[in-house]
Amino acid sequence: MSAVEIQPVDEPRSRLGTPVWEIARLYPTQGHWSEESYLALHTNQLVEFTHGVLEFLEMPTRKHQLMVAHLYQRLLVYITQRQLGEVHFAPLRIRVASETIREPDVVFLANHRLPEDKTVPPEGADLAMEVVSPSAESRQRDLVDKRHDYAEAGIAEYWIIDSEASTVTVLGLQGSAYIELGSYGPGQLAVSKLLPGLEFDVTEVLSA
C-alpha cells in the first residue's frame, strides 16, 4: 500500500448544496485523459479536449446565444438551399487533431465529410465560427488556440465574431496556416470566400 497522502490545504470540500468537488478524484487528473475517457463523458455542458486536458467552456450568455442563432440560421439557409451538407451548433464534437476535440459555436460539414456513423465525431470541418466570450481565457482560446487547431485540421474558413472589439474576422486557410481575408466592423458586410454569396451585416450580427 502506498504512502499516506497528506490532503493539500486547498483541496475543495463540498457541503450541502455545493457541487461534489471530491468526485474529481474518481477520474484522471488534468493531462492524463485519453480521448476515449473524454468521449465517454456524457454531458450537455461544453467540454473540449486537447492533449490529455479537459477544457470547460463558460456557460454562454443570452447575448452569445442570440449571436450564434443569427449566424447559424443564415448559414443554414445558404447551405440547405444548395444542398452542400450539414450545419450544426455547439455542442457538437469535432476532431480537429489526433488528441484534440473542439465544439465550435457554428460549424459547416460538407457532404463528403459526413461520417456514415452518425454517432462518431466528424474529422475536421469545412467552415467554423466562434463567438468570442468576454473572459481572457476564452479570448486566448478562440483567437489563438483554436486558430491553430482549426488550421491544423484543415478547416478552410474560420470566422471569429468579437463583440468586444466589434469585429467579424474571416480567416482563410492558405497552406497550413490562416491568413486574414478580411476584418469587418459595424456598417460593413463580412463575406465568405469559400461560400460565394454568403455575407453578414456586421451591425446585425453584433446587435443580435
Binding site: 499516506v4 457541487p19 468526485i23 474529481a24 474518481l26 487528473t29 485523459w33 455542458q45 479537459l54
Partner: protein, 206 residues
C-alpha cells in the same frame, strides 16, 4: 416554483490536479439519488445519506494491515465452517431507506442471493479505527445507531489507538457491550461462537 441556486465558482484545475470542474456535471450535494450513487464506478470509499455523498478518509497502512489480518481469520473460519460469506470495503451496504455505509468487513450467515445488487443489512460488521482518525471515531457513534437500526446482529470495533476490541451485540434494537478485549485476550463472537481473534496478534500485524 423553481429554486435558483447561486452559481458556484469551480476551483480551477491545472495540469496534474484533479479536474474539479467535473463536479458541475453531477448533482450537487443533497441531490444525489440512490441510483446515481450506486452507479459510481470507483474503489474510493464513498457512503451515502439522503442525497449526500460522504467521502471517507483514505485508510492508513496500519489500518489496512489490521484489517487484512482479521479478514484472513474470518475468511478461514468461513472456509472451515462452510457457512456464510465475508466481504471487505468498498462494498455499499444499505442500512436505512436512504443510507448506505461501507463497513471495513461484512459477514453474512447465508450466501447472498443476488451478487449484482448492494445488500440490505448484514449479520456482522467490523470497523477498524486507527490512531489519529478523529472523523472515524465520530463516525462510530453515528454508525452504532445506524447498524442497530439496520438490525445487524453483531458489531465489532477494533480500536488500534486504545488497543481494544469491543464486541457489540444487538438486543432490543440497541447494542450492548458483550465484551471489551485487551491485548493478551481473545475477542470472541456471540453470533459465531467458534470464531475468535487474538487481540495481541491483531494489533501487531505487519
Amino acid at each position: 416554483m423553481r429554486t435558483v441556486r447561486k452559481a458556484i465558482e469551480a476551483p480551477r484545475s491545472k495540469r496534474g490536479t484533479p479536474v474539479w470542474e467535473l463536479a458541475r456535471l453531477f448533482p450537487a450535494q443533497g441531490y444525489w439519488t440512490e441510483e446515481d450513487y450506486l452507479e459510481l464506478e470507483t474503489n474510493l470509499l464513498i457512503e451515502y445519506t439522503d442525497g449526500v455523498l460522504e467521502f471517507l478518509e483514505r485508510p492508513s497502512p496500519q489500518h489496512q494491515l489490521i484489517l487484512q489480518y482479521i479478514q484472513m481469520r474470518l475468511l478461514n473460519f468461513v472456509l472451515k465452517s462452510r457457512r456464510g460469506s465475508v466481504m471487505a470495503a468498498p462494498l455499499p451496504i444499505r442500512v436505512a431507506s436512504t443510507t448506505y455505509r461501507e463497513p471495513d468487513l461484512v459477514y453474512f450467515t447465508k450466501k447472498l442471493a443476488d451478487l449484482s445488487k448492494a445488500p440490505t443489512g448484514a449479520d456482522l460488521v467490523m470497523e477498524v479505527v486507527s490512531p489519529g482518525s478523529a472523523s472515524r471515531r465520530r463516525d462510530l457513534i453515528k454508525k452504532r445507531r445506524e447498524y442497530a437500526e439496520a438490525g445487524i446482529a453483531e458489531y465489532w470495533i477494533v480500536d488500534a489507538e486504545n488497543f481494544a476490541v469491543t464486541v457489540l451485540v444487538l438486543k432490543d434494537g440497541k447494542y450492548e457491550v458483550a465484551g471489551k478485549y485487551k491485548p493478551g485476550q481473545t475477542a470472541v463472537s456471540r453470533l459465531l461462537p467458534e470464531f475468535g481473534i487474538n487481540v495481541t496478534e491483531a494489533f501487531s500485524a505487519d
